[in-house]
Subunit: 305 residues, 2 copies
């Protein structure tokens, strides 16, 4: 399959590189890492086995041209300017996979592209970017898919595609619910890492107060999600999230890595949009509100904007 | 009047020095500033006029001996070890004034001393410690008094005493309510200064999210206080607190000053005790809970304990 990876951060590089290794024709749109990858290829240090890929790296989407599948793995902070990056790769039969965290992602892409061709993907993966052209994949990797309009066969095709690259995959009944459930991890651990002074997941779990806040945030996310049309079994998910997180040891959530590099945080997609939906549905989310306001302030303070 | 100031931080030094200047015989128990004050006296830079006092400074309470009035101005983090500092100054007729922030202060002193002799004082003052022996009093100074068992005549005597030193004073109907109302300022501005990365009061007021959190914290404190027996008009107090704070420009709450110096924060008296009382009364205080857990964690992280 002819694939364009738009936004070659750690997620785009890992999944794109594994698809390429599996025989697909993958083209990477790169910015920061372009020169390094052209020189040395893409180095994947992975719990599934290290490998180097002579990746096809480009500085502009027009050089890539029309593909079968666009894997959009931009940071959510860049979503509003995604159209010109994606458009040159889109032909009559192109599908677009938003392999991104947060809420409201597919809806944003649907401002520019037909919803029939839009899918969402959620990566459950512990991964960090290292020096340019180097990715550290430390744990997990499962990825699940959903079609924006609920076309399960399209979602299953992508699940099969990623399975061919050696990943566990799944097609949950509802993409929306999958996104809300993933927020049950992303909201607490990303935001507490920021407001608790850089705390990694192990520090959060080990502290009685912070882990209580994590549980409250999870319950608030579940309540907002259920008001938004999901059927999340909150307490079961809370326990699952907490025990899964305990296997991660001292994991740095992506928001903390961005914060340390003084990059914009994905606060709006991960906290702001869920807070707004909760408000629309009249669901009180006081802990999430507090985390959102604090994280948003600390983000701006950190970048002096 | 023969007075011992136990705990000569900025509050103890300012009020003690003004009482001494007004002709009272004031003895200061000092630790950090002892040598500097013995050498150079106590320098008060004040919005009410600068002055230097050749303060009577001591390293131990036994050297001071029995007094008419103990002004206990310790940090609340030191309250559990206050008894041996106060005891040598207490005779049959000695009164003890807890000139400290937070909740449950008089109750702690009453573990060791008769409640008949215990009063509480609340200082509404913008004040910082500078180099040893130097105090910066930048604004306000009003102080209000209440007796632990409600003896208003004793409270009025202290109000008259402090008025003789040039301060505005008052005797509110209820010491408990006065403490809860003061928490309506201390909880939001102290804790947000910590969790919002060192934000001074002006930054908090200028930010829509942080000032919303400040208002929520005030309302939660008022609700907890009312459940605890007070009759606080929450919205009136919120508006009063917000507009008073706007006059303070870029004020650093005491908790932030302690944090920057890596000293223990008064998190338990200012946040922990109100949170526990709210819980006893079944009043939800989710924003205060979050601020308490985060502040307590950041305090320990900051001191690596």
């Amino acid at each position: 399959m002819l694939i364009a990876v738009i936004g070659s951060g750690s997620v785009g590089c890992l999944y794109g590189a594994r698809l390429a290794r599996a025989g697909h024709d993958v083209h990477f749109l790169m910015r920061r890492d372009l020169e390094a990858v052209r020189r040395n290829g893409l180095m994947i240090h992975s719990c599934d086995g290290d490998f180097r890929l002579q990746a096809k790296a480009y500085g502009g989407s027009a050089e890539i041209g029309v593909v079968d599948l666009v894997v959009c793995a931009l940071k959510t902070t860049a979503i509003d300017s995604a159209e010109p990056l994606i458009r040159p790769c889109v032909g009559a039969r192109t599908r677009i996979l938003a392999l991104m965290n947060g809420l409201g992602i597919e809806e944003k892409l649907a401002r520019w592209f037909e919803p029939e061709r839009i899918l969402g993907g959620l990566a459950f993966v512990c991964i960090n970017r290292g020096e340019p052209g180097v990715i550290y994949h430390t744990d997990h990797g499962r990825v699940t898919f959903g079609h924006m309009l609920g076309d399960h066969s399209q979602a299953q095709e992508l699940a099969d595609l990623f399975a061919s690259a050696g990943f566990k995959t799944g097609v949950p009944p509802s993409l929306k619910q999958a996104r809300w459930e993933k927020l049950m991890w992303n909201v607490p651990f990303n935001s507490l890492a920021i407001t608790a002074g850089g705390a990694t997941t192990d520090r959060i779990l080990a502290d009685a107060g912070l882990s209580e806040l994590a549980r409250r945030l999870m319950r608030e996310v579940a309540a907002a999600g259920n008001a938004d049309g999901c059927t999340i079994d909150a307490e079961t998910m809370v326990e699952k999230m907490m025990s899964n997180t305990a296997t991660m040891s001292a994991y740095k959530p992506s928001m903390l890595i961005d914060y340390e590099r003084r990059l914009p945080l994905e606060a709006d997609a991960i906290l702001g949009e869920p807070v707004r939906r909760a408000r629309q549905h009249g669901v009180p989310v006081p802990t999430m509100d507090a985390q959102y306001y604090l994280t948003d302030f600390l983000d701006r303070l950190n970048r002096q904007v």
